[in-house]
């Protein structure tokens, strides 16, 4: 029998409730959490948001953290959800088990950085908050707070981050690399990404209307959700109540555009197809779909097309619950996973709020229904750059009746390696990339793409089976440029080209777009350990036969300002630019 993965505890905090019970009430009563900004310090009051109805001080009090401690809202949200999940899962101590924390996030400590940025630029003095700017340190702080985790890591694939955290958790459990995984994601609102999304002109000034013909964009939300995952046999052994099975998952890359989804939704289609295959289910087994459904004209059209390609005329009930929570970006995958579990447990279909007008030829979402038995549900989460992930949650185990696909253990070898550590080397990108494609790329993108293309050339492949990227700080140059723009011009339209290349996963997705690679694509960001995590994932893919060639890269850059600040804080010095690209193969 295959090793089944179960979920035995959930924690959730979002605009519609500070815990699972409140979330359930809001969902059943059709009560949206989207409204006027209360906590975020932004001038954009015309933009509705899905804020968590707690101040940072209130969250600290709930967590027993001193009010004077400076800690990002993002980390606090994550801690609240992890705390609930651990309590519900009955895990208060490690008791000899290997417990692993996997978090998905993109903003990291940006909410604190943006508060201190002006003062740092004005005085030239570093604020220690910079040491907590990166995503990995948020996860690290959560792990330290609970003190039961033997390892932790962070995935950053923009809006599919949390879904990929769950996917990784399941794989690590199956591979026997952990006994219990607490996986999920968190994202707090920041001025940085609110203004960034605003400059992409995809924010609706009204509460969002996913899948409606008149939809005019998304509303940003915030929150966190984490789940306790373990092998079914272990859960039964310790007498834990099983809330759901994570029976399938798929990760694919649209490889189309940095911010737009392809017309036929190729990445979404491939991710859903793979999720069904790993679950050993057919489209007919799916009783409900929690769509990504952001409410942007592009996403909803593309996702609708992908859904039709999978389900044809026999479309199960579909809804987007972003009309309740807003788009909680990196956290959306786990928040919606918990919503799916609640729907299965309490036998109802969550409503697609505010839907009124049919998209011609598009899907018709459900407006909610009670008394529905849900056996298997599909939960989609898609990110910028086309990092698309689909999960399948089940209220009963899938009886596949087969032995596990016992692929012989393949040994992964590093077939080639290329390193770039100076800006002068970047001019060579001209030999590989047309000026029209290179024109937007900042240093880190050029360095990442150049090192990747050179290493692929060495082993003679034009498209790897999978792309795994590691970065400790991501696209710092663009992030700093946007923060400078906010400082100098105020909350105006930020430069869209810089914003779309400020997420960590923009690196891996640019390589996928260039090479046309639709395969597995994730980005790790866990400080200096990022590369080791990426390599571990690559070896697992090759060992299990899921990929024969994997492109792994670690890419980082720094700016003169950031570098001098980090030196003041005695942090490890960074190269202005540094890329390591490797090809791992099974040696055939």
């Amino acid at each position: 029998m295959r090793e089944r993965i179960v979920i035995t505890g959930e924690g959730i905090v979002s605009a519609i409730g500070n815990d699972k019970a409140a979330t359930l009430t809001s969902l059943r009563e059709g009560k949206s959490g989207i409204g006027v900004m209360q906590h975020l310090q932004s001038c954009h009051h015309e933009l509705p948001v899905g804020e968590v109805k707690l101040s940072n001080t209130e969250m600290k009090a709930l967590l027993g953290i001193a009010a004077s401690t400076e800690i990002s809202r993002n980390t606090l949200l994550g801690m609240l959800a992890v705390d609930q999940a651990l309590r519900e899962g009955g895990i208060q101590h490690a008791s000899g088990k290997r417990i692993l924390l996997i978090a998905g996030t993109t903003v990291g400590g940006m909410d604190i950085t943006e508060c201190h940025f002006d003062e740092m630029v004005a005085t030239g003095k570093a604020n220690p908050c910079l040491l907590k700017h990166d995503c990995g340190s948020c996860t690290g702080d959560i792990a330290t707070h609970f003190g039961i985790f033997c390892e932790h890591t962070t995935i950053s694939t923009a809006c599919s981050s949390a879904a990929n955290a769950l996917l990784l958790g399941a794989e690590l459990l199956k591979a026997g690399e952990a006994d219990i995984v607490v996986a999920g994601g968190m994202e707090s609102l920041t001025r940085f990404h609110l203004n960034g999304f605003n400059s992409l002109m995809i924010l609706d000034q009204e509460p969002c209307r996913p899948f409606d013909a008149e939809r005019a964009g998304l509303n940003l939300g915030e929150g966190a959700a984490f789940v306790v995952m373990e092998r079914e046999t272990d859960a039964l052994e310790r007498g834990a109540a099983i809330h759901a099975w994570l029976s399938g998952y798929g990760n694919a890359c649209d490889a189309f555009h940095q911010t737009a989804s392809s017309k036929n939704g190729e990445g979404a289609y491939l991710a859903m197809k793979e999720a069904l295959e790993t679950a050993h289910l057919t489209p007919l087994d799916i009783d409900y779909i929690n769509a990504h459904g952001t409410g942007t004209p592009n996403n909803d059209l593309s996702e609708g097309t992908a859904l039709k390609r999978i389900f044809g005329e026999r479309m199960p009930p579909v809804s987007s619950t972003k009309g309740f929570t807003g788009h909680t970006t990196s956290a959306s995958g786990s928040i919606e996973t918990v919503i799916c579990i609640l729907a299965m447990q309490h036998r109802f279909l969550p409503a697609n709020l505010r839907w009124a007008n049919q998209i011609p030829g598009g899907i018709t979402p459900t407006l909610g229904e009670n008394g529905k038995t849900l056996r298997h549900v599909l939960c989609n989460a898609f990110g910028f750059g086309g990092n698309d992930t689909a999960l399948i949650l089940s209220s009963r185990p899938v009886d596949d009746g087969e032995a596990s696909s016992s692929s012989e253990d393949r040994q992964a070898i590093v077939a080639a390696k290329v390193e770039i550590s100076s800006e002068e080397e970047l001019a060579e990108i001209r030999h590989y990339v047309k000026p029209m494609e290179a024109r937007r790329m900042g240093r880190i993108m050029r360095s990442a793409l150049l090192s990747s293309l050179k290493v692929m050339e060495q082993v003679g492949i034009s498209c790897p089976d999978a792309i795994i990227t590691a970065t400790s700080l991501g696209c710092l140059e663009n992030s700093e440029q946007l923060l400078m723009q906010l400082r100098e011009e105020g909350e105006v339209m930020l430069k869209p080209t810089c914003f779309m290349q400020s997420t960590h996963n923009t690196i891996g997705s640019a390589i996928a777009i260039h090479t046309g690679c639709h395969g597995y694509n994730v980005t790790y960001t866990q400080g200096a350990q990022s590369l080791e995590w990426a390599l571990r994932d690559a070896r697992r893919l090759i060992r299990s036969g899921k990929a024969r060639s994997v492109l792994v890269g670690m890419h980082d850059e720094t700016t003169p300002r950031f570098r001098s600040m980090m030196q003041q804080l005695d942090a490890e010095d960074l190269h202005p630019i540094h890329s390591i690209a490797m090809i791992l193969t099974c040696g055939e």
Binding site: A260, A438, R439, R440
Partner: protein, 86 residues
């Protein structure tokens, strides 16, 4: 008008980082978007919206409005000359 056209071409080259191009390389009448023209995409539309807001005080409510305006440098120059606030 010729002056405005040249000015717009220079600004387009700058904001879109068309590094190796000069104003002479951009055909005034040719489509800016799509494969048979300059090959710009949706992010460029946003950059152009920012450009006309910053330099000419023209505000567009949605990228869809830009579709006809940004068809070519000629249509853009025509729209800017009629609607500019600065």
């Amino acid at each position: 008008m010729e002056e405005l056209i040249l000015e717009l071409k220079e600004q387009i080259i700058k904001v879109l980082n068309l590094e190796e191009m000069t104003p002479e390389d951009i055909d005034t009448e040719a489509p800016l978007f799509g494969e048979d023209g300059l090959g710009l995409d949706s992010i460029d539309t946003l950059e152009l919206i920012m450009l006309i807001e910053k330099n000419y005080g023209i505000k567009l409510a949605s990228p869809a409005e830009g579709k006809t305006i940004f068809k070519s440098v000629a249509t853009l120059a025509d729209y800017v000359s009629k609607n500019r606030k600065k």
